[in-house]
């Protein structure tokens, strides 16, 4: 995925839509802050995704963080590779480190999410 073309939630998830399927991951900024990712708790396929609600958690040596659904819909696929090798999310957050695919309810729309420039601005203010 090209980070420039992705959409972003305040809580550091990225989203990318193809048709009505939204792929969700965590940004490099977020995984760099976590470092030493030990475990990712994933939802089950078929679980509902409620916009803004936690659907999983990511555990690092230092801390645990919730992962929030950026869109509404149903979890149709989870990245099994991350369960076995959580470090993948640190190595390739926008590629092999994707988390889940959500089949979006209603008309696919990401307008409530930030574009790349707006997200960059947010993390610049958070790093200070």
């Amino acid at each position: 995925m090209d980070p420039i073309k992705l959409r972003y939630a305040k809580t550091h998830e990225w989203a990318s839509v193809e048709g009505n399927i939204c792929t969700v991951g965590l940004t490099k900024f977020a995984v760099d802050l976590l470092t030493d990712v030990i475990y990712i708790d994933m939802p089950d396929v078929g679980d509902p995704a409620l916009k803004g609600d936690s659907f999983g958690e990511i555990e690092s040596v230092k801390a645990v963080s919730d992962i929030y659904a950026p869109v509404e819909g149903e979890i149709i696929e989870i990245n099994d590779k991350l369960v076995l090798d959580p470090a993948t999310i640190s190595k390739d957050p926008y590629g092999k480190g994707w988390l889940v695919k959500i089949k979006m309810a209603g008309k696919p729309n990401l307008d409530h999410l930030m574009n790349h420039a707006a997200y960059e601005k947010q993390i610049a203010s958070e790093s200070h």
Binding site: T35, D36, I38, Y39, D41, E57, E59, V61, K62, A63, V64
Partner: protein
């Protein structure tokens, strides 16, 4: 405004992520906690511990003063000897855990950064009629820890007295790269190593030299995972003003028979009628990590709380320390930890989790 050690700008310009710790802006990590942790277990790491409080106790009554202030014995320290000690209040709960260095006719106390000002005022308010002076040398000196199986071999190349000849928990006035410094065979990682106290401004050349020799810069993140594996308490977590040394498993540092000291009466009572809770080590088979304050449970009923927890980089599994009722503290006891609403099984194991092989 957070305090800064003399190495602060080195940390910032070498990629450290900084956090506030006990009022000091300190490096938590340069690379990753696991990477730095592994370096200390297998090779050597260097820590800026300039934030630790360094208090000099002078005067003809220094020994009797310390005997009154602390729970452990300071009267029988050999020249240069260093001893773990506790400062308790009248209730017998812990104000700080410290190291006492016997240093010529004086003593040096190394206290926790977060407790320094509290301890200084506690000491001053307990001087009474004793002829003793307290000098806070924290801001005029620096302190560096070099830890790991290769730490001594590296450090000895810079130090005029061979630190490998120094007994464990002994110190010597020596020179490091020709700078007068106090070297002690001490640490907070469970590894062999030394800690160096030297005049402020002289630390940077020693630090940079050791880094150039292959000693890995390490932050407070791995200092915490290392001490946790070594089963060492951290003030504000395992011990605080609501904890007494006996339930904390630190009874070995309380000498009830050494004479009067602050908290003795309460600790004698505690010994005769214990609080009923004790500090234990817990190990989990899963991957989810218990964190501070998570409830320890059995059959859904809360019995105690986690004081520190992490993923052990050495053993590759989650570990924690917690307080549990004494009757459920036996090694092998099956308990659960409520990890954000889900009960994860755990087992009581003996502390420390990690003990280095002694050669």
């Amino acid at each position: 405004m957070a305090l800064e050690t003399a190495l602060h700008s080195w940390h910032s310009s070498n990629g450290a992520r900084m956090v506030d710790f006990g009022g000091w802006d300190m490096p938590v990590q340069y690379t990753t906690i696991v990477d730095e942790h592994t370096a200390v277990r297998n090779d050597s790491g260097i820590f800026d511990i300039g934030h630790m409080g360094r208090l000099k106790i002078h005067g003809p009554d220094a020994t009797s003063f310390l005997q009154m202030i602390c729970t452990n014995n300071s009267a029988n320290l050999k020249p240069g000897q260093v001893r773990y000690n506790l400062v308790c209040n009248e209730k017998g709960t812990i104000l700080d855990d410290i190291l006492v260095y016997q240093h010529g006719s004086d003593f040096l106390l190394v206290v926790n950064a977060s407790n320094r000002l509290k301890i200084v005022s506690w000491l001053l308010s307990n001087v009474r009629s004793l002829n003793v002076q307290i000098e806070d040398q924290t801001l005029s000196t620096s302190m560096i820890a070099v830890q790991g199986p290769n730490a001594i071999a590296l450090a000895k190349q810079l130090i005029s007295d061979d630190p490998s000849k120094l007994g464990y928990y002994f110190s010597v006035d020596s020179k490091t790269m020709n700078v007068p410094s106090l070297i002690s065979r001490t640490g907070y990682t469970g590894e062999d190593g030394i800690e160096i106290i030297l005049p402020k401004g002289e630390e940077i050349k020693v630090w940079e030299k050791l880094v150039a020799m292959g000693c890995k810069p390490c932050g407070l993140g791995c200092r915490d995972t290392l001490r946790l594996e070594a089963g060492m308490p951290l003030y504000g977590h395992e011990i605080d003003e609501n904890t007494n040394p006996l339930e904390a498993g630190l009874g070995w540092a309380v000498k009830l028979d050494k004479g009067e000291f602050i908290g003795r009466e309460a600790l004698v009572k505690e010994k005769n009628t214990p609080s009923g809770r004790v500090r234990v080590g817990l190990e989990l088979p899963g991957k989810r990590i218990p964190r501070e304050l998570y409830p320890v449970t059995q059959n859904g009923a809360a019995l105690g709380k986690v004081t520190s927890g992490t993923f052990s980089p050495t053993f590759n599994k989650p570990i924690a320390m917690a307080y549990v009722p004494a009757n459920l503290s036996a090694v092998g006891t099956d308990l659960d930890i409520d990890i954000r609403g889900k009960f994860e099984p755990c087992k009581v194991v003996s502390l420390p989790f990690y003990k280095r092989k002694t050669t």
